[in-house]
Symmetry: C2
Subunit: 151 residues, 2 copies
Amino acid sequence: MKKLLLIVAALATTTFSVTSHAQFAKPDDAAKYRQGALTVMAAHFGRVGAMVQGKVPFDAKAAQENIDIAVAMSKLPWAGFGPSGEGATLKNAAKPEIWKEQAKFKDLSEKSQAELIKVQTAAKTGSLDAIKAAFGAAGASCKSCHDAFRI
Amino acid sequence: MKKLLLIVAALATTTFSVTSHAQFAKPDDAAKYRQGALTVMAAHFGRVGAMVQGKVPFDAKAAQENIDIAVAMSKLPWAGFGPSGEGATLKNAAKPEIWKEQAKFKDLSEKSQAELIKVQTAAKTGSLDAIKAAFGAAGASCKSCHDAFRI
């Protein structure tokens, strides 16, 4: 598992873009994709949050594993918000502004990815206090994008 | 991107289990998680399939990137089919048999993961023919699990 952690951490800190290969046949396909990637990312980020909030006992290895997966996942959802993802008919919370303000959306999404990496870096210390210190800003970066672009 | 491919490939071939950290508060949370992970996995596997089927031009780098992500994603969904994932009320296609035949389910899920890794290994050769030779068995392994456990 330690080897995995190192590998996922390396993956997570690698500049990663699948946009060039991420054309979706239908906007609904893109919506399902981005919703899926965000759900998985949030689940793992939330497990770290549960430790930060004292809802579950702190487990340094579990915190590291979950933030590593969250960081790795954080590279994926954005492709679903590209041009081929506009106009989905299935229930989704994407505001039309996403496609009118792609530069702002990209900036906020990249800020969130950067904040997640800070939590990951903190997790490497094995210190819950270090994770707590970084977690709030990461959560806030998610919220700032949701406030602007999520219904 | 080459560095990423090596890293993701390494990740994908690492024995990876998040089960021990994958308790879900509600069965619906587990259902959303597994559906999300499977959706992302299928999207990337499907992009390789589109090349295999000649629907899009073969791009060795894109094929490698997508199968690498599919293999990495293939480690995640199964945690959502654990004990905490039984009894979801949201729309989902999981048959109750999954929780009655966990050993069989685990076996089929692991076979699919192994077949995906064979496609990934084939993709490393840069040969579409090699990918085609491995792709069919991978798709069939998905189907065999769906036939047994998906409504």
